[in-house]
Symmetry: C2
Subunit: 109 residues, 2 copies
């Protein structure tokens, strides 16, 4: 008995695991400067911090801050090569995160 009673998930419950990843992606890409950084990449292109900063209207320091947020969100990936740090779009992670939300939305009909 009571099997037919489905408690509504409490608003204050933890955000589902698969949403935590998407959450950071959303926050990261909710900023216009960070969107511009993402759009700076041509297909397959890798850019170092100096290149990204020179395209930007912000200080190198501010760009570095945004790159950190994008990397931690899994929007970009990076690797140090010599003196430089190269960034590229983390295609797989982004696809997975977006697919999670798309899946939720499609089930919501």
């Amino acid at each position: 008995m009571f099997n037919h009673i489905v408690m509504k998930r409490a608003y204050s419950d933890a955000i589902p695991d698969e949403w935590k990843s998407m959450s950071r992606v959303f926050s990261a890409l909710g900023d216009e400067h960070r969107q511009r950084i993402l759009l700076s990449f041509d297909p397959g292109e890798q850019l170092n911090v100096g290149q990204i900063a020179s395209l930007s209207t912000l200080s190198r320091s501010a760009v570095s801050h945004h790159l950190k947020i994008l990397r931690e969100a899994g929007v970009l990936a990076s690797e140090k090569r010599g003196k430089e740090v190269y960034f590229w779009i983390d295609r797989l992670h982004l696809e997975q995160a977006l697919a999670t939300v798309l899946d939720y939305v499609r089930r919501s009909a």
Copy 2:
């Protein structure tokens, strides 16, 4: 001649039209309270402001603020029925916005 020279899109250029819509979706869903609101909806469910506020830990006023942002971003749609305003997930708009980014990411490989 010069056809082979492809100017890099300036960082400060306008964000492409199809991105403006996604931009607001990202900003809207970059906030944990607004994510919780989105996750409050069962499939096909419609909730009014009072119901959403009662699920929330925030004041009704703050919830109203977040609902406005979610509606303006096209995450939720709403309709007034009598005294109440009902909200639901704007499935089509969300799908389209997410598909735009997914498409960009897939072309970025």
